[in-house]
């Protein structure tokens, strides 16, 4: 999708003024956070599982080539095929070619953020194919021609009234006077519409939460069962996954699965956890005739060995954005590309460049909540800071800000001058603010005083007062004849 990350500030401005969005965000925050807290508290070994999950992925990232090749050889042994793709273009071409080989018309899709990353739907449409999103949230935003605003709840920015409006507009063959007030009615209608597509699809595309090296299996977790219908009914199943999804063994996948749903939605486990191992074998009752894995790099291997390697542990649970106060204030679309929230603020500059996405790692208070809930213990604030360092080196931040910072740092490194400057400045500010105790506006501080008062300083600085106090103590000490100098 076309990035608007560079316009983050404007996007955020719009989001803050959008009352419907604010209503939806208000509901979202409380729900996800409470559920995750309770789920974690119910499992005594939760923190240990987080450590183990982190260690599994760290191990994989040190031996990525080994496990990917093992995965490929097992996929082949199962009768499937792996397509290695460096770029979004290569991945799109590989998928279109597979679709063409069976003269496909309808392509059903399970939820896949990688498909968003490579703008797959647009590309399929350009080649005369009809992509149909089968995850309810994805289906809704496909009808509305919107991008997902959350990696596990793509339509979380919408209220049920928005959805009803979209269904009325899109499903023109149904009774225009039907009632869509109840969420149940919306779900039933979507199910009705999607069932026809499931049966008619020639190709089904899913993402993958895990790729398992020892068996050549791919794993998806869903709550709607749409993934299963997407991958078992059509002739061809294409798994679209980025290469860091690999884990060595089934055991490892099970370990991480135990923290995934708990961190994401607060469920013990998702409703469906589906393992796919190759195409239909003789005697199988169902399954696709062909099984393809389109394996995408798109900048990930370039993050290996850098200060951003830890980001490749991410399992896309969404906990960081569910708990992020900035995401909670502006929602996912403000971030301007596929991945919002803290994980997006680290990953997006890595994938589309820090020039385009430079705002994102800056738009954080470093409150640390994201890191505290990340099941993979990714040090998200630390990596956002690393992006800020790169931006500083490239002189990307506004000149006025850099000048201010340099001036401050110059003083901060010269304690005597700092002392003198702060004494004068605070003396003036303190005198000016004494009557009211605060300022409603201050020169050069509009960013602050447009929104809140600036409390006035007391007047004298601590160091000034401390020096006065020490001076007095010294004077009284010398003035007292009985003072024992040795003891002092």
């Amino acid at each position: 999708m076309q990035s608007t990350s560079h316009a983050f500030k404007d996007n955020a401005h719009g989001a803050l003024a959008d009352e419907r969005l604010q209503k939806a965000l208000g509901k979202m925050k409380v729900g996800f956070q409470d559920k995750r807290t309770r789920a974690a508290a119910r499992l005594p070994e939760f923190e240990t599982l987080r450590d183990q999950s982190r260690d599994i992925k760290n191990h994989v990232l040190e031996h990525l080539d080994l496990y990917l090749e093992r995965f490929e050889s097992n996929v082949i042994a199962n009768g499937g095929k792996v397509h290695w793709c460096r770029t979004p273009g290569e991945a799109r071409d590989a998928i279109v070619e597979i679709c063409r080989s069976v003269d496909a018309k309808i392509v059903t899709k399970g939820k896949s953020m990688i498909a968003e990353e490579i703008e797959l739907n647009d590309h399929l449409e350009k080649h005369g194919l009809e992509p149909v999103e089968t995850d309810l949230g994805e289906y809704i935003i496909q009808l509305r021609k919107e991008a997902p605003s959350h990696i596990i709840a793509p339509a979380v920015h919408l209220n049920k009234e928005d959805v009803a409006e979209s269904f009325m507009k899109a499903h023109t063959l149904l009774d225009p006077h039907r009632s869509l007030e109840e969420p149940r009615a919306l779900v039933n209608e979507a199910r009705e519409m999607l069932r026809q597509k499931f049966l008619a699809a020639d190709v089904g595309i899913t993402g993958a939460n895990f790729l398992i090296a020892e068996t050549g299996s791919t794993v998806i977790v869903t709550n709607e069962g749409n993934g299963d219908l997407t991958q078992t009914l059509p002739k061809i199943h294409i798994v679209l996954a980025s290469l860091e999804k690999i884990v060595p063994t089934l055991e490892d996948a099970s370990t991480i699965l135990r923290v995934l749903a708990r961190s994401a939605t607060g469920q013990e486990f998702s409703s469906y956890t589906t393992f796919s191992t190759g195409p239909r074998r003789p005697g199988d009752l169902d399954g696709p005739e062909q099984f393809h894995v389109v394996l995408l790099d798109n900048g990930r291997t370039a993050m290996l060995g850098t200060e951003f390697q830890d980001m490749l542990r991410c399992i896309r649970c969404g906990a960081c954005m569910n708990h992020c106060p900035v995401y909670g204030a502006v929602g996912g679309h403000a971030y301007g590309w596929v991945y919002p929230g803290p994980m997006g603020s680290v990953l997006t500059p890595g994938l589309i460049g820090v020039q385009e996405a430079g705002h994102l790692p800056n738009a954080s208070t470093f409150c640390g909540k994201c890191e505290s809930v990340c099941p993979m213990r990714i040090p998200l604030p630390k990596m956002m800071r690393h992006w800020r360092e790169r931006e500083y080196e490239k002189k990307m931040s506004p000149q006025a800000y850099r000048n201010g910072l340099s001036l401050w740092a110059w003083f901060a490194k010269r304690p005597d001058l700092y002392r003198l400057g702060s004494k004068i400045a605070m003396g003036v500010l303190g005198a000016m603010g004494r009557r009211k105790g605060r300022f409603r506006s201050l020169p050069l501080a509009g960013g602050w005083t447009d929104w809140r008062d600036m409390p006035a300083p007391e007047g004298k600085t601590f160091h000034q007062l401390w020096a006065e106090r020490q001076g007095k103590a010294a004077t009284s000490a010398t003035a007292t004849p009985s003072n024992d100098r040795k003891a002092a």
Partner: protein, 259 residues
Amino acid sequence: MDNKTKTPRVGLFVTCLVDLFRPTVGFAAVKLLEAAGCTVEVPSSQTCCGQPAYNSGDRADTKDIARNVIQAFEGFDYVVAPSGSCAGMIKEHYGELFADEPEWAQRAAHLKHRTYELVSFLVDVLGIEAVDAQYAGTITYHDSCSGLRELGVKQQPRTLLRSVEGLTLAELPGAEVCCGFGGTFCIKYPEISNKMVGEKTADIVRTGADTLLAGDMGCLLNMAGKLKREGSKIRVRHVAEVLADMTREVPPIGDTRGA
């Protein structure tokens, strides 16, 4: 060292915001530390912990400032700051700055193990469980992010506040949610910061408390500024002012005497 038999010698890291805006907090810290049996010194070569530069990506200036702090505080038994944010910077981030300079890394590590946030130092290190203070009012408490998540400051201020005569604590729902200050964040993204602090002040008002306390000046300036802009009468103070029984010496943050 054996602290039981010796008077701990504490270097006070004043923090730049306390130095500039609220010197009373520094004196409150001195009073609390002295009452707990420490001797307190204030190295005059200190300025700031370096966080504004660090979080702006300016590593070179950060390292220079950090070296200055490390030098200024060598030789003390403990270094104490009335801020979780600045103490967190020294404890949790200086080491990483000098990852490729072994000598400075060692000096940073030495400082790390001696540095504490004020209230947690009183409770966790000195074992203080009560203070000699009075405050007539209902307070609510905001847990500042760095102190909470980097240093585990949570129960310590509540433990001491419970010993303040006349004080009632009304817990703040969402006490652990960021107030939107975030250092330079509040200047770079003022609209988002405003949204966050607006949600925070709404929560504060709902508690019915007449006083808001916290342990970090940045958050306090932000929340006080917003409350005052909204016309709220809620008084805002650093927790050390209440614990040191110094609330009569200075008006609340953003208020005048008589407020």
